[in-house]
């Protein structure tokens, strides 16, 4: 048996030698590309997707690459990850997995990682990701895939650590990714520094200006954000993201009429958008009516969007649209009718993977809990939470987990069980509805500093979701309302943009 002191000395030496080990780790992960042409296409896709924000072009390039080499499993995996078409995401993941026998050992680990993630097997997905990252911490594709996946999982700290460890500070695409990571962590000074760097690396490219604008908007600097979007459009008038970005910014500024005009102009100018992009911005345009409390206008816009999604066989988008409609309804029956339509769309199952269908089902149940609480129907609250618990029990998916915790936290808050509610609401801390309840729960249990912090975060939130439209404007209006809750107002007063 080793003595403790021997162990201690050995361990200290071990920890000290850690940095030396890093230096010995490899540079780029080898890829099983057979031809120089496909290798060149891969580089092209990298520059287009990660640096220049030209997703459609990058996707086209990757389609070409896998057409030339259909057995290039890692090529299929990259396409699966960057594709904007749900059906293609599903089919390319299948292709990657089916062809993994042609891939090298490291590529196989990457494919395992995403296959496990798709199968709700989170721990094996994480260990596979870390295994391959440990071997190739400086590989740009790996760092890009990992930081992007972690952002999807809302694991921003881990994403930032991987970026910092990569040392890839001159890769424009990774600088861009890192800036968004820090912005999501509300560390805006770091995000702005990275944006300055991104602009300096690609001064003649619109994407850095577009990203800068979006991050400025997240921080609440609307006017400057619009300036940056306009600079991006001067560089490249076809950079559609910036045109829609201007509309999104007017929406968050509370100028709904101008926002709608800008959306109309953008849709007219860019008629050949990808379906998911089109649906995203149609949703934002429909949301303008919620900000105006115009239920009729919102219903008309969302219904048209649901029908469009249905016609395109995008069942998740259709379900999501009906779910969002249910959220702002004032009549319980109407909300339940819309949720039934959402559930029916998910059941149809067109162009959606099993994991995405389960995630959407969880979101619908979570909304059902909100509707039931609003109606004071505790039987429906209980049954919906129970169904959601069952769904969460059989998965280790972050989104399903958050939906369950948000729903249970809402249920417990409704019953004034604030102490029990806190742990669950914290697990759904990205949702404005949960955030608002969390602030109340903190305050009711005497954790005043936590309540103030949460309220400040909520007041500063600049998200384009329906949840934001339902929660944040009324919270901000507190500033002008003398009868508003004193604690909330006090927190809101501290908000500075």
């Amino acid at each position: 048996m080793k003595s403790f002191s021997t162990v201690l000395v050995a361990s200290l030496l071990f920890l000290l030698s850690a940095s030396a080990q890093k230096i010995q780790q490899g540079g780029d992960m080898p890829l099983s590309v057979k031809s120089a042409r496909v290798s060149q296409l891969l580089n092209e896709a990298w520059v287009l997707d990660s640096d220049q924000g030209e997703q459609f072009k990058a996707i086209e390039v990757m389609r070409k690459a896998v057409k030339i080499e259909p057995e290039f499993a890692m090529g299929h995996e990259i396409l699966a990850q960057i594709s904007l078409e749900p059906a293609e995401q599903v089919s390319e993941q299948k292709q990657a997995f089916a062809n993994r026998g042609y891939a090298n050992a490291s590529e196989q680990v990457v494919i395992e990682w995403f296959q496990n993630a798709a199968d709700h097997k989170l721990i094996p997905a994480i260990t596979s990701m870390n295994e391959v990252l440990h071997q190739y911490p400086h590989d740009r594709w790996l760092v890009f895939l990992a930081t992007s996946w972690l952002m999807e999982q809302t694991q921003y700290e881990r994403a930032a650590a991987i970026y910092e460890n990569s040392g890839l500070t001159n890769s424009p695409g990774l600088v861009n990714n890192a800036a968004y990571t820090y912005a999501n962590m509300r560390q805006f000074s770091k995000a702005f520094s990275l944006m300055d760097k991104f602009v300096s690396l690609l001064p003649k490219d619109p994407n850095p200006q577009d990203s800068y604008a979006e991050i400025l908007r997240m921080a609440g600097y609307y006017a400057v954000a619009i300036d940056h979007y306009r600079v991006a459009l001067r560089i490249n008038p076809q950079f559609y993201s910036s045109q829609f970005g201007i509309a999104d910014t007017y929406l968050l500024m509370g100028d709904e009429g101008r926002a709608r005009q800008e959306y109309d102009a953008a849709f007219k100018k860019f008629s050949s958008l990808g379906e998911l992009d089109r649906i995203r911005w149609m949703t934002h345009q429909a949301t303008t009516y919620i900000y105006e409390s115009d239920i009729v206008g919102a219903d008309k816009a969302f219904q048209s969007l649901a029908e469009y999604s249905h016609s395109m066989h995008l069942c998740q988008a259709e379900a999501e649209t009906y779910r969002q409609m249910a959220m702002y309804q004032t009549k319980t029956d109407r909300a339940l009718e819309l949720l039934a339509k959402a559930e029916s769309a998910v059941r149809e199952g067109h162009n959606v993977s099993a994991i995405h269908a389960h995630q959407e089902a969880a979101q619908i149940l979570r909304t059902r809990v909100e509707v039931a609480i609003k109606a004071g129907d505790s039987v429906m609250v209980d049954s919906s939470v129970a169904k959601l618990a069952q769904l969460a029990l059989n998965s280790d998916d972050k989104i399903i987990d958050s939906a369950f915790n948000g729903a249970l936290g809402a249920h417990l808050s409704y019953e004034h069980k604030y102490t029990e509610a806190i742990a669950h609401l914290e697990e759904d801390g990205n949702n404005p509805l949960s955030l608002q309840r969390l602030a109340t729960a903190y305050r009711m249990t005497g954790y005043i500093s936590g309540a103030r912090h949460t309220e400040q975060v909520l007041a500063k939130l600049n998200d384009l979701s329906v949840e934001q439209a339902l929660v944040v404007p009324s919270f901000r209006k507190c500033l002008q309302n003398p009868t508003c809750d004193v604690g909330v107002k006090d927190a809101a007063m501290k908000v500075t943009h």
Binding site: I123, N130, Q153, R158, E320, S402, A423, N431
Partner: protein
Amino acid sequence: MLCWRKLLLFGLVIAAPCLVQAKQLAVVTDTANPTTNLTAAELIKLFNAHTHTWADGKPVIIVVRDPASSDMELVLRKIFNMTAAQAQSFIEAHKPSIIVANSDDAVLRFVSTNRGAVGIVDLYSLTKDVNVVKINGKLPVEQGYLLRGN
């Protein structure tokens, strides 16, 4: 523009900033350690240096992050029930059976190469070089797991 398809696909659901981030921590041991599950009480005894050996007789070596770091807040609250300063003194008093590491990677390296070592890391730092120990029969990804929270 951030080119990441999931943010587009689920933009309305998950592409939200980190407002209140709940942590998920994993208890890890070396892969030769046969212990697969601990009760919360056993875990607390282990980390509070009341348990000195594993069931197979190997001595326990605990490796933790700096008690002053934000990564340790949940551990201090749920396992040590101490302030950062109290935990610092406790660790000093129990050297060398408790070791402080400066990162999750360092915890993992130490645990994977020292028989009897046990540590706590962020779920997303996990590697295949260690075993994840269940607490009260639950893995970190399961509802009701002890080491989850803000």
